[in-house]
């Protein structure tokens, strides 16, 4: 019986994670924390849209391992390239997931990774260009209990 119960709950990564942290909702990051982190990257630059594309599933098949990829339109020359792309998960205990650093030698500015998502939330990707300009893209990824469709 315990085994079944554990497995049923295993589908709900969000709830399991919160439980480990003592059920405290404030253990999770807030969108404001992510906004502050992005502000730290951008400085005074205005955050634009376009240029950067974040790809993520609409609904996670497995909240423990959600594949995402990001690509930025850039010639990647010495004069004009993508310096970095940072990924944030607004609803995770540790919202800063990863930062990819690029150089003109990278050729293209694209990267993929997998991340754990504690619950349904926004994932934000922020690209900083060599000229200091900043672009971002956001995807909402749903983490479900699942299991009653058909």
């Amino acid at each position: 019986m315990n085994l079944q119960r554990r497995k049923l709950l295993g589908g709900t990564v969000g709830i399991a994670t919160v439980g480990l942290l003592g059920g405290a909702a404030n253990a999770l990051a807030a969108p404001e924390d992510v906004a502050a982190a992005i502000k730290a990257i951008a400085g005074d630059a205005e955050i634009g849209s376009g240029m950067i594309t974040l790809t993520a599933p609409e609904i996670a098949e497995n909240g423990n391992s959600v594949p995402i990829s990001v690509s930025v339109d850039s010639p990647m020359t010495d004069d004009d390239y993508v310096a970095s792309v940072s990924i944030y998960a607004e609803g995770n205990p540790l919202p800063e997931v990863v930062t990819f650093n690029f150089s003109p030698a990278s050729g293209v500015a694209s990267a993929s990774t997998r991340m754990r998502l504690a619950q349904t939330q926004n994932v934000v990707a922020v690209a900083k260009m060599s000229n200091g300009s900043v672009f971002s893209d956001t995807r909402n990824v749903k983490v479900t209990i699942g299991g009653c469709g058909g």
Partner: protein, 564 residues
């Protein structure tokens, strides 16, 4: 377009039917519609697409009651397929009591079922397909199978779908896609696909390690002097709605970007017509038509919506061809200079009593069922009222299953999944093993018994409800609401997740569900591995057998709020 003339031919029948409410004998009805009437069509161009979908392993003709509720939200409220009953009749200008009214709505369902008889049967389907192939020429017709073909009956379960494979081999589809197919497990699916005479397509399935395609995405055909690309789309949320552990290395999803790439590639490779053979569901495909460029026709399945003709969204035709073998979808295309210049479409109801069964298919169906026929016919009970499943919130078959689980597993509450497959028993009919498995035949049938807190029960209901009524169709998984036994609640489909479910009440005491208290819940079809408990078909056979007559009480435990 289904023409006015086509409708009038059916209307001729309806006059007789309505003039004699309920008492019209089947013979009288069948004298008025003929096989030729069903096949009559103002054809267009040279190319014909035929679409069958969501047969759910129904080789024999069936009763299948259309839903009383099929709510749409947001942009999709009040438009096909979210019209039922009188609204459906009015929208499509169908006369009450007519053959099409019977095929498409639950209005006067029992009376009309007794008059018009069963629909479907793969041998009748074969007759229609072969007649259209003969009329149009084999080289001008594509037959496409939208999936959910290999699951849903006793024989499909016992033979690991070999019964369906043997019969479909005679029907000779040109391609197919999948959903419940995957619940046979990855090994069996690959074994079948490797030996099948036609491609199993999936643009949206990649392996979890490298995100590389697992199946072919596209098949090309030269038909009707046209190069046609057929791109396949599996049910995007199969690993969420069904057990992911059965195919752990495959990832699904809508993958619109990948689909656009495959459409562009098909065009670059010379396709003049691009067809998406889809198991996305009707609303997902309506949205997809607006975000993908270059698809001419979407043949959609999964949500079991039967719409009498294709709808046009931008320059894309969307045809939804129902379920359970009840209908054959037909889209004719006139193509000149690589562009579609005209089209016509219709959904042909497969009235089994007026179509001569195809002899070869009949013999094959008998052959695959023969080892099981005695068991299939075994009577386990009798129903006083109508037993059906389809509908957003409940059906009498699931009311019965929910009650059976509560009693057989000594639970306070029960959950039965919102599956859209499952046939209908008319009042007074006997219930056979065949009937029982038409509701329950699947590969993860264990009935669990667990304790959930009231809070957890609310979370589950909100979660499932959001899969059904999320305002963005890309988040809809295509099933109906989970059925709940022993509990009433109010549902507000237009609210957001977390705010749709209220007034949860334990029916046995009339008390509100306490978020902190634990409740003993029985349910089946858990997507988790290693679930313990009796199989739902065994449990229900016990439960039904104990009763001399099944009589499901009227169920108004779910109240709907905010929908007119």
């Amino acid at each position: 377009m289904t023409t006015r003339r086509d409708f009038l031919q059916f209307a001729a029948v309806s006059a007789a039917a309505t003039g004699f409410s309920g008492g019209l004998s089947k013979a009288a009805a069948t004298q008025t519609i003929t096989q030729d009437d069903l096949l009559k069509f103002d054809s267009k161009g040279k190319l014909t697409l035929l679409h069958i979908t969501d047969i759910h392993a129904q080789l024999k003709p069936v009763y299948f009651r259309p839903p009383s509720e099929n709510y749409g939200v947001g942009a999709f409220e009040g438009i096909p397929p979210h019209l039922v009953g009188e609204d459906f009749l009015k929208h499509f200008n169908l006369e009450r009591g007519s053959a099409l009214a019977y095929a498409h709505t639950m209005v006067d369902y029992v009376d009309l079922a007794r008059s018009y008889g069963k629909l479907g049967g793969l041998d009748r389907m074969a007759t229609l397909v072969n007649a259209i192939r003969a009329d149009r020429g084999d080289n001008n017709v594509l037959l496409l199978d939208g999936g959910d073909t290999w699951q849903g009956s006793y024989t499909a379960l016992k033979t690991n779908a070999q019964d369906m494979l043997d019969c479909m081999a005679l029907l000779k589809p040109d391609a197919m896609v999948g959903h419940w197919e995957f619940t046979l497990g990855a090994d069996r699916v690959l074994e079948i696909v490797d030996n099948m005479a036609y491609p199993f397509l999936a643009s949206n399935i990649v392996d979890t390690d490298w995100e590389e395609s697992v199946f072919e995405s596209t098949a090309f055909f030269d038909r009707g002097d046209t190069r046609v690309a057929v791109i396949g789309q599996a049910m995007p949320y199969t690993p969420i709605a069904n057990p992911r552990w059965m195919f752990p290395e495959w990832s699904f999803g809508i993958r619109a970007e990948l689909l656009q790439e495959n459409v562009d590639k098909a065009r670059a490779d010379g396709a003049q017509v691009v067809v998406l053979l889809s198991h996305n569901g009707f609303d997902v495909d309506q949205k997809l038509a607006t975000v993908i460029d270059g698809i001419d026709v979407i043949l959609t399945g999964h949500t079991h919506d039967a719409v009498p003709e294709a709808i046009k969204i931008g320059s894309t035709l969307v045809m939804s061809s129902g379920s359970h073998g009840k209908y054959l979808g037909r889209v004719d295309l006139e193509v000149s200079n690589g562009k579609i210049t005209d089209y016509a479409s219709t959904l042909i109801p497969v009235f089994s009593d007026v179509i001569a069964p195809d002899a070869a298919m009949s013999a094959k169906i008998d052959e695959v069922r023969a080892p099981y026929e005695k068991e299939l016919q075994r009577v386990i009970g009798k129903t006083e009222g109508l037993l059906y499943r389809r509908g957003n919130f409940n059906g009498t078959w699931d009311d019965l299953i929910c009650q059976g689980m509560i009693e057989e597993r000594d639970a306070e509450l029960s959950f039965s999944p919102g599956f859209r497959w499952g046939t209908t028993n008319l009042p007074g009919q006997e219930i056979t093993i065949d009937d029982l498995y038409n509701q329950t035949a699947m590969s993860y049938p264990s009935v669990y018994r667990l304790e959930f807190t009231g809070q957890r029960i609310k979370e589950i209901l909100e979660d499932v409800c959001d899969n059904l009524f999320n305002i963005d169709p890309f988040f809809q998984q295509g099933g109906d609401m989970v059925r709940v036994g022993g509990m009433g609640y109010t549902c507000a489909p237009k609210q957001v997740m977390g705010s749709r479910i209220s007034d949860m009440t334990l029916l046995s005491t009339g008390e509100p569900i306490d978020p902190k208290r634990s409740y003993v819940v029985a349910g089946w079809a858990s997507v988790n591995e290693g679930v313990e408990g009796p199989a739902i078909f065994d449990l229900m056979e016990n439960y039904i057998s104990k009763q001399s007559v099944i009589n499901v009480p009227k169920n108004d435990a779910v109240k709907i709020s905010g929908m007119d």
